[in-house]
């Protein structure tokens, strides 16, 4: 027993000396290399990877329902006025007959009302345009 204690005592300074080397001063960040730092900051234990919950049938139905009418609730009616020039094919043999023109335009994207599918909603329209110019000359 006595010899065992001595042996322990003999070992103790060694062990102490050993610990001293492990607990050396933490190097300044610039002296620390990237690997050391990463290693030091690693959590002790990785968190468990998240798992996506299975979608319920109701959720799936709700997701697949088109929200296009909510995103763009317009019913697609518009009324426009336009003015400009018309380059008429010239009866009198000039290159073109340039005439002032004006008119109104009514459009209705009627498929917005009938369809919920985003593609179909924007596909069909009715366009009624009325433009007027005149090519009478001289006698008014």
């Amino acid at each position: 027993m006595k010899s065992f204690i001595v042996a322990m005592l003999l070992l103790a300074p060694q062990a102490h000396a050993q610990k001293k080397t492990d607990e050396g001063a933490i190097p300044y960040p610039e002296e620390e290399d990237q690997d050391d730092r990463n290693r030091r900051e690693l959590p002790k234990k990785s968190e468990e990877s998240p798992r996506i919950r299975e979608e319920t049938q109701v959720e799936e139905m709700e997701r697949e329902q088109s929200m296009a009418h909510l995103d763009d609730p317009s019913i697609g009616l518009s009324l426009e006025m336009h003015v400009g020039v018309m380059l008429l094919d010239s009866t009198r043999g000039a290159p073109v007959d340039v005439q002032a023109m004006g008119g109104i335009r009514f459009t209705w994207e009627w498929s917005r009302t009938l369809f919920s599918d985003e593609f179909l909603r924007e596909f069909f329209l009715v366009d009624v345009t009325w433009s007027r110019t005149q090519n009478t000359y001289g006698t008014s």
Binding site: S90, R92, G93, A94, N135, T136, Y137, G138, T139, S140
Partner: protein, 392 residues
């Protein structure tokens, strides 16, 4: 008609987008000598085809827009006019009247007038380029000139006159150049051209289907009533006045034409011919005689021959000489007398007056030594409302 949409035909072809500019500062125009050069320099842009639009309704083609209506009517007017002149030529060939360009809605500028604005509301025969020019209808709110068959008949009369009397040269020597006539001879040529054209224009309205005889055919186009009345050949009161006679004899061409006096004297001529024709019911004989008198190589020399003969002594081409040439080409003695009487009164010709004492016909039957040697002996002053003016 060879193309109903392009309005081309053997008689006339309508041309769109043409530009004609008379530019006194254009050296090319000043240098132009030949007819081709004159035409090319005056009209660098000859224009192109027109495109009439039609609507087919029950097999009938209806012009579909304003210009189509106007152009088709114009084309019709020229065709009807040609039919009249065929009759007036009395069997003589009329092929030379064919193949004429009609510049429809043309841009025509005359920079010698001090303005570079294109002229509007007119229709005229322009001899330097040998084409009819129909300028845009703008201010006049009645029938545009091009659509007025009497006006087209009148303008065609200028073509006929130039072709027959002046051999169809671009610039007749009597009207321009070193031998240009001045004062009364020049004014007379211009007045004859206008008066005869009006007389033929009336003839076209008689001959053509449509509104019928119109001795005042301008009334359909011009709202200005006095201006129309001044050209109405059915008005028996058109007479030479002292002022007009003075202007006729003493005005140079710019003064005379500037005042439009060639139309006033021209109306005296057209009224005389119309009244004589109406009184006798033989107006067609006068129409034929007039055309025959334009160019006559035979012994009964026409205007062309007489003008060429008197090119350097124009004072011998007098209103009396003009009357005599017309009378010479009228076979019917009664009609000839009526024409002479009308012209004697309206133009105040030299006969049967206190100054020269000459009769309004040969001195006696068979002797031809008066200015009006071919007027019948029975010709006399005072058969019209025109009173004799005091001697100059």
């Amino acid at each position: 008609v060879t193309s109903i949409t392009a309005l081309t035909g053997t008689l006339v072809t309508l041309v769109g987008g043409a530009v004609v500019t008379i530019d006194p500062n254009d050296p090319a125009q000043a240098m132009a000598v030949t007819d081709d050069q004159i035409e090319q320099t005056l009209q660098p842009n000859r224009g192109g085809a027109v495109h009439a639009n039609f609507i087919d309704k029950g097999g009938v083609l209806w012009p579909a827009d304003f210009h189509s209506w106007a152009m088709v009517t114009t084309f019709f007017n020229f065709e009807q006019t040609y039919l009249y002149y065929q009759k007036a030529y009395a069997g003589a060939p009329t092929d030379t009247l064919k193949g004429t360009r009609v510049l429809y809605w043309a841009d025509f500028k005359d920079l010698t007038t001090g303005t570079d604005a294109a002229i509007t509301d007119n229709a005229f025969w322009f001899q330097p380029i040998k084409a009819f020019v129909l300028v845009p209808f703008e201010k006049l709110q009645e029938i545009p000139f091009a659509l007025n068959i009497g006006v087209i008949g009148h303008e065609f009369g200028h073509k006929v006159f130039n072709q027959k009397v002046f051999a169809d040269v671009a610039v007749p020597p009597a009207l321009s150049g070193p031998n240009q006539w001045r004062l009364r001879p020049y004014n007379l040529l211009k007045s004859m051209d206008e008066g005869f054209a009006d007389f033929h224009g009336y003839g076209v309205t008689v001959n053509a289907p449509g509104p019928g005889p119109r001795p005042n055919f301008l009334a359909a186009s011009i709202a200005d009533k006095p201006a129309v009345a001044a050209r109405d050949m059915s008005d028996d009161t058109h007479c030479m006045t002292e002022e007009l006679r003075s202007a006729f004899e003493n005005f140079d061409q710019n003064q005379f034409q500037g005042g439009g006096l060639q139309y006033k004297v021209g109306t005296l001529i057209s009224t005389a011919l119309y009244q004589a024709g109406n009184k006798t019911g033989k107006i067609e004989i006068i129409q034929n005689a007039l055309i025959a008198a334009y160019d006559d190589e035979s012994q009964t020399a026409g205007f062309k021959q007489t003008i060429n003969l008197r090119l350097t002594e124009p004072t011998k081409f007098t209103p009396e000489k003009m009357t005599d040439i017309i009378a010479q080409h009228i076979g019917d003695p009664d009609l000839r007398r009526q024409v002479c009487n009308q012209l004697i009164d309206r133009l105040q010709l030299m006969c049967d007056d206190s100054v020269n004492g000459l009769p309004c016909g040969p001195t006696f039957v068979g002797q031809l030594n008066t200015p009006l040697e071919h007027c019948p002996a029975a010709s006399a002053r005072g058969t019209t409302p025109c009173k004799a003016l005091p001697p100059r």
